[in-house]
């Protein structure tokens, strides 16, 4: 089955290779005028050589696919299942060690392909529509498209590293273009060097076309493929370490500040997105309707002792919400927004004991609390509780202990858990013991809904910082410190909150702070306090600033709301 596929894929790449020289030249003419025309012959040679290489790679891939198939068959995963929904992708494709396109390689690839924008709807795809998403080299097409557009719309002043190289390479002998390039400033030094090397390599290539041609005469197909494969494997490993060992990163140096655009804040972002129409609304609605038809099945399975976990791309919040409103109206249920940055297992347990079980009182530890809940649910068989957790894999809930407690909770026969996960590595949270406690049934619910709520707390680089996620790190670090250290930090935090209305508050001066700490019996000498502060500084909990008068000022670099949250939680714990 995979043999014909292999030949097909190589045929497709062959189609790609017939880049009409006119097309290549058309672009070059735009760019560099008549000068390049002289190089026509050499260029086409290099194109051909590249195409040969591409063919070989395709061959390899076909073989790899074949091998993966065997492996899959051996595992008995029955890839040939006609009903298989999306699962007929073998694991090798998902987790493959694909060569990351290092920037220059990508440039090379793109530069050869960019000139054929019209070809990207390859005619032979209609012949094999079932083979979607199977070819790893597919990304070429999209990129190719991007760059072809890029080259056409020069007037838009679109800039990117890749076309720069492309142009540079094609027009390397032209000093004018090079100096004109606006990138030279933005690229890091090493890159430039490499660039230079690359260019010289290309030039030497061009000078010796017969040699390359001779080298590329195909030896017997099979052995070649094998050899290349071995080579490729070796290369892969090397490339991986190469990419991850060196500290220098070859990307352009441009920053958002140079961009004219201002940073959007959360509100404007929200408004803008609300105005933007959601693409494929009808299809997404269809998709969601499919999932909604499963609701009663979920109920049945929950009652039979399974718990349900939803996965797949897209926000599953609306889906769960709909499930809740349509089926859970008559029963006690608890909704947990896992994506909420300050959620903890304790707050989940608290809301069960306080609101569901109407228990007043506190517990020494979450384990005690869990024991209490278990006992109550076992005693009273009429008690039933549905727990809906949005994003069970969120920052605050993904810890080992939290998961253990939630798993134990979910294993109670009268607690029905239905949760959603999004992170690609979410299943790694669970070991066999937890999995058996959870007793999951997995449901794929790809919704393609935007993650509106879930990402609104995320600290995206492009959005103005609101500092909400700092809370979890704050609590984590502080929990590992001594009681005194926590007290010291509390003092500082309280002081900072008192002064929050003062915009020019420079921070607490060291001397004042020392005084206060002494009064609270937290430190007994200047030195102990300094030692504590070093600890804080190492964990980036505080920042010190020297004022104009030489006095040291201490500041906690988190915003006030986070700090308030933090203090509240501390109060709760103590």
């Amino acid at each position: 089955m995979s043999r014909p596929e292999g030949t097909r894929s190589s045929r497709r790449s062959l189609q790609v290779k017939f880049v009409p020289d006119e097309d290549v030249l058309k672009h070059i003419v735009d760019d560099a005028g008549t000068k390049v025309r002289k190089d026509k012959a050499q260029l086409s040679v290099s194109v051909k050589r590249f195409v040969k290489k591409l063919e070989n790679i395709c061959d390899n891939e076909a073989q790899e696919i074949l091998e993966e198939k065997n492996y899959v068959a051996a595992l008995g995963i029955c890839a040939q299942d006609p009903l298989g929904n999306g699962s007929n992708i073998s694991g090798g494709e998902v987790y493959s060690f694909q060569t990351p396109k290092r920037s220059n390689k990508m440039a090379e690839l793109a530069s050869e392909l960019a000139q054929t924008p019209e070809k990207n709807v390859a005619p032979d795809h209609s012949k094999c529509p079932e083979k979607m998403a199977k070819t790893p080299q597919s990304k070429i097409f999209l990129l190719m498209h991007a760059f072809s557009l890029l080259l056409q719309n020069k007037k838009k002043e679109f800039v990117s590293t890749t076309p720069y190289r492309l142009r540079k390479r094609l027009a390397a002998p032209d000093p004018y273009l090079e100096s004109e390039s606006e990138y030279s400033a933005s690229c890091s030094e090493e890159e430039d060097e490499e660039e230079q090397k690359e260019i010289s390599a290309v030039l030497s290539d061009q000078k010796t076309p017969p040699k390359t041609k001779a080298a590329s005469t195909p030896p017997p197909r099979n052995s070649l493929a094998k050899k290349i494969k071995e080579q490729k494997m070796g290369n892969l490993v090397e490339e991986y370490f190469e990419a991850h060992s060196s500290s220098k990163v070859l990307t352009s140096d441009r920053t958002l500040q140079k961009l004219r655009k201002r940073r959007l804040n959360q509100q404007t972002l929200h408004d803008l997105l609300k105005n933007a129409p959601l693409a494929y609304a009808a299809e997404i609605r269809d998709l969601n309707q499919q999932h909604e038809s499963l609701f009663s099945k979920w109920m049945l399975q929950l009652h039979l002792g399974f718990n349900i976990v939803l996965y797949g791309l897209g926000s599953k919040r609306d889906l769960l919400e709909k499930f809740r409103t349509s089926l859970l109206q008559d029963s006690v249920h608890l909704v947990v927004n896992g994506y909420f940055p300050s959620i903890t297992v304790r707050s989940i347990l608290n809301s069960i004991t306080e609101e569901v079980l109407d228990h007043i009182g506190t517990f020494r530890s979450p384990l005690d609390q869990l024991e209490f809940i278990t006992k109550r649910f076992k005693e009273d068989s009429s008690l039933e509780l549905y727990v809906l957790i949005h994003n069970l894999d969120s920052q605050m809930l993904r810890g080992e202990r939290s998961q253990q407690i939630l798993a134990q909770l979910s294993s109670l026969p009268s607690i029905y858990l239905i949760a959603s996960i999004d992170h690609i590595n979410a299943p790694l949270m669970w070991d066999q013991a937890k999995l058996s406690l959870y007793n999951w049934l997995w449901y794929e619910t790809t919704t393609f809904n935007p993650y509106v709520e879930e990402t609104s707390y995320e600290n995206s680089l492009l959005v103005q910082q609101s500092g909400s996620l700092a809370l979890s790190s704050l609590t984590h670090v502080l929990h590992s410190l001594t009681l005194n250290a926590r007290g010291i930090f509390r003092l500082l935090a309280q002081h900072q909150l008192e002064k929050k209305d003062n915009p020019s508050y420079p921070g607490l001066s060291f001397q004042d702070f020392y005084q206060q700490c002494r009064e609270a019996f937290l430190v007994n000498s200047d030195l102990t306090l300094r030692a504590q502060l070093t600890e804080f500084r190492d964990h980036k909990l505080i920042r010190t600033k020297r004022g104009a008068d030489g006095v040291e000022y201490l500041l906690i670099p988190v915003d006030d709301s986070t700090l308030t949250d933090f203090l509240e939680k501390e109060d709760e714990d103590v």
Partner: protein, 706 residues
């Protein structure tokens, strides 16, 4: 972030509700109630059966353990000199229980164990888990809590004045444990004899205290060592017995404990049954029997077995999968109402509605059946409901008989194949079963080669196999096997006759011996050649003939009875075949789903615009797909500016360029916002994370495709 919703009217419906769920889904037919009841009763039957099996399998182990425990402290009872001599060495009797890697199944074993112990030996059993005992203090606390609780349970019936000691108040230490033990044992001593008989007659005077470490490997070594050292100091006051649950190998004890500590233990090793054997028994009792009307199809069984073998070795999970199969089958197949015991079939078939009859006519296997009938009967079958019902009943009974025969013959075949070298058809009967369900087994190469090998079996083996087959067939409930048994017995007598005849052959052997006398090389060569010649042309011996006959007969049986279930009419009613559904629910691949959604959105969103090119994705794809595709081209770090611009180029190209230039600023902002959203979604999904290495860069967290 937590919100509790309570209904205003607190009406609670329990079991009724479950049935209701079942009903609302399959709106098409009216038998749902009955189906649900059948499903539940079947599952309960299966469940009790599996529990029974588990109990039986563990019986041996538990018996051994119990006898060990009763032995271990018999000395303590009698206070003999031997005890005092051991006391000098301060050894704690310890049972090391090797349970295998499927940790999740251990719970059940331990529960059974503690029940048995509490019934037979001692009320003082404590189960400790590593996660509850990070330190020696917690361990002691947990231990005392459990011991005193169980004590209270026993005593509270008798005297109420026994105060509920809260474990927090007592100082948890060994002395307090000992004083508690003394007080407890004294109390039972001082009680009136009649009461004693009631409460603790099953236990002895001073029952041992059993401490079970459920998962010894995960305990901190320090905690274990401390506990052992401390308790060995007090062993003469407190008859303590330890039980270690071990998942890996007994060697771990010596790795965890230094010699000085392990020398304080007097270890005896107990091995539980391996989980594979457990599974074989389960399959044997659940699937290869006609007791349960519900059957698993080949692929489904394969999936379940693969999950077991490649993922967890957990029998519990296998049973869970089986439960899911039952549920899915009864839920999705309206005709599963007929999946019941033979006795009920007649009644249920008679009460089928018109719709259900149509459902039967729609079954592919039934259609195939109809096509084979002559035209008159075809019309009857397709138009006359009552005729159809009669026919259905007959077919279902046939199916039942088929299954009975199938199992018996399968076992017979297994007797043959399981002793062949290299096991071409598998060592376990489950492999053979899968092969037979999958396709016609006699067409496979493996079957061919195993027949070849069977033709080379020696006589003794062959005879014992035949005897086994006869036993299997005699014990089976199938009625058709009388002739078969007769035939097999005939073979057996023939073999016996051969034995008598074989004595005659010895004469010919002696002629061969003559040849050894001659030392002449030439003659030797000549006679050897002759011998070779004669052997080649020699007719098969009687034994060989008979062997061929036997194998051929077995082959005939296989061809007759081991027809794959898919070929049987109405197999859809009792066989569950939706392997994909099962795998999706039990062994899901969330990352694959994400990969598909990002690379090929058309799979989910059936829109022509998304379809256009096979390799990549179109520029009209959802934002997140485009952003994802672009990020695949980057190395470890991604420049946000470049990324944004690449994105906007793609998106601008997708949106028709007819948009007015005037509003371009606005458009830019929207694209910017969309980009931000897509990037933060990728961050949520775990593909990227912010990086401080370079300004306005994000780090890629994946290497390669997804």
């Amino acid at each position: 972030g937590c919100f509790v919703f309570k209904p205003s009217t607190k009406k609670r419906r329990l079991s009724e509700k479950t049935a209701h769920d079942f009903r609302s889904t399959s709106h098409d037919s009216e038998d749902t109630e009955l189906r649900f009841v059948t499903c539940q009763s079947l599952w309960n039957q299966v469940k009790s059966e599996t529990e029974q099996i588990q109990e039986d399998l563990n019986k041996q182990l538990l018996d051994n353990l119990v006898s060990f425990l009763s032995r271990s402290h018999s000395d303590f009872q009698e206070k003999t000199t031997k005890w005092s001599c051991r006391m000098k060495f301060r050894e704690i009797p310890t049972a090391a229980l090797v349970l295998g890697v499927n940790v999740t199944d251990h719970d059940l074993t331990f529960r059974g164990l503690s029940d048995v112990l509490q019934d037979n030996i001692t009320p003082y059993v404590a189960l400790l888990e590593a996660k509850d005992c990070p330190g020696i203090k917690n361990l002691m606390q947990k231990l005392m809590g459990q011991l005193m609780n169980c004590d209270i349970e026993v005593d509270s019936l008798e005297d109420e004045d026994c105060v509920q000691v809260s474990q927090n108040r007592i100082r948890c230490s060994m002395p307090s444990l000992i004083s508690w033990y003394e007080s407890v044992t004294k109390k039972t001593d001082s009680e009136t004899p009649s009461k004693k008989r009631n409460s603790s007659s099953r236990h002895w005077q001073s029952p041992p205290v059993v401490v079970i470490f459920k998962d010894m490997e995960s305990f901190a070594t320090k905690v274990l060592q401390d506990f052992i050292v401390i308790s060995s100091q007090h062993i003469h006051e407190l008859p303590l017995v330890l039980i270690f649950g071990i998942a890996t190998s007994p060697m771990i004890i010596h790795r965890l404990l230094p010699h000085s500590v392990s020398s304080l233990l007097c270890i005896e090793l107990f091995q539980s049954l391996s989980c594979k054997e457990h599974l074989s028994t389960i399959i044997d009792k659940l699937l290869l029997t006609s007791r349960f009307p519900f059957k698993l199809g080949g692929k489904v069984l394969q999936v379940l077995i693969n999950i077991f073998l490649y993922h967890d070795f957990s029998v519990q999970n296998f049973i869970k999968g089986f439960q899911l199969c039952i549920m899915e089958h009864f839920y999705s197949q309206p005709l599963s109402v007929l999946c019941c015991h033979l006795a009920d079939i007649k009644k249920r078939v008679c009460s089928l509605s018109n719709d259900q009859c149509e459902n039967i006519r729609r079954l592919p296997s039934f259609r195939r059946y109809v096509e084979k009938q002559e035209s008159g009967k075809q019309i009857e079958l397709l138009t006359n409901d009552s005729f159809l019902k009669k026919e259905t009943e007959k077919l279902l009974e046939d199916l039942h008989v088929y299954h009975e025969n199938y199992v018996s013959i399968l076992r017979c075949l297994h007797v043959f194949t399981s002793s062949l070298p290299k096991y071409p058809l598998g060592k376990q009967i489950r492999e053979l079963h899968c092969a037979c369900l999958e396709n016609q087994v006699w067409e496979t190469e493996e079957y061919e080669s195993s027949l070849q090998l069977a033709r080379m079996l020696n006589k003794a083996d062959l005879v014992t196999m035949l005897q086994q087959c006869v036993e299997i067939l005699m014990s089976s409930s199938g009625k058709e096997f009388d002739k078969t048994v007769e035939k097999l017995k005939e073979f057996l007598t023939q073999f016996q006759n051969l034995e008598e005849a074989s004595q005659e052959r010895d004469v010919s052997v002696s002629s061969q011996k003559e040849l050894q006398k001659k030392t002449d090389l030439y003659h030797l060569q000549k006679t050897l050649l002759e011998l070779k010649e004669s052997r080649r042309s020699k007719k098969l011996t009687k034994f060989e003939m008979l062997r061929f006959e036997v194998v051929d007969y077995i082959d005939r049986l296989v061809r007759k009875y081991l027809v794959p279930a898919d070929n049987r009419t109405l197999h859809e009613i009792v066989y569950f075949n939706a392997a994909t559904v099962l795998r999706g629910h039990l062994n899901a691949a969330p990352r694959t789903a994400l990969h598909t959604a990002l690379n090929n959105p058309h799979w989910y969103l059936k829109n022509q615009a998304l379809k256009c090119d096979g390799g990549g994705i179109s520029n009209k794809a959802p934002d997140i797909c485009i952003v994802y595709k672009l990020h695949l081209e980057c190395g470890r770090l991604i420049n946000l500016v470049d990324w944004l611009e690449a994105f906007s180029t793609v998106v601008m190209a997708a949106e028709e360029p007819n948009a007015d230039a005037a509003s371009s600023d606005e458009v830019d902002d929207i694209i910017h916002a969309r980009f931000i959203r897509a990037v933060s979604e990728l961050e949520l999904l775990g593909f990227i994370k912010p990086s401080k290495q370079k300004t306005d860069h994000v780090a890629r967290l994946t290497w390669g495709g997804c």
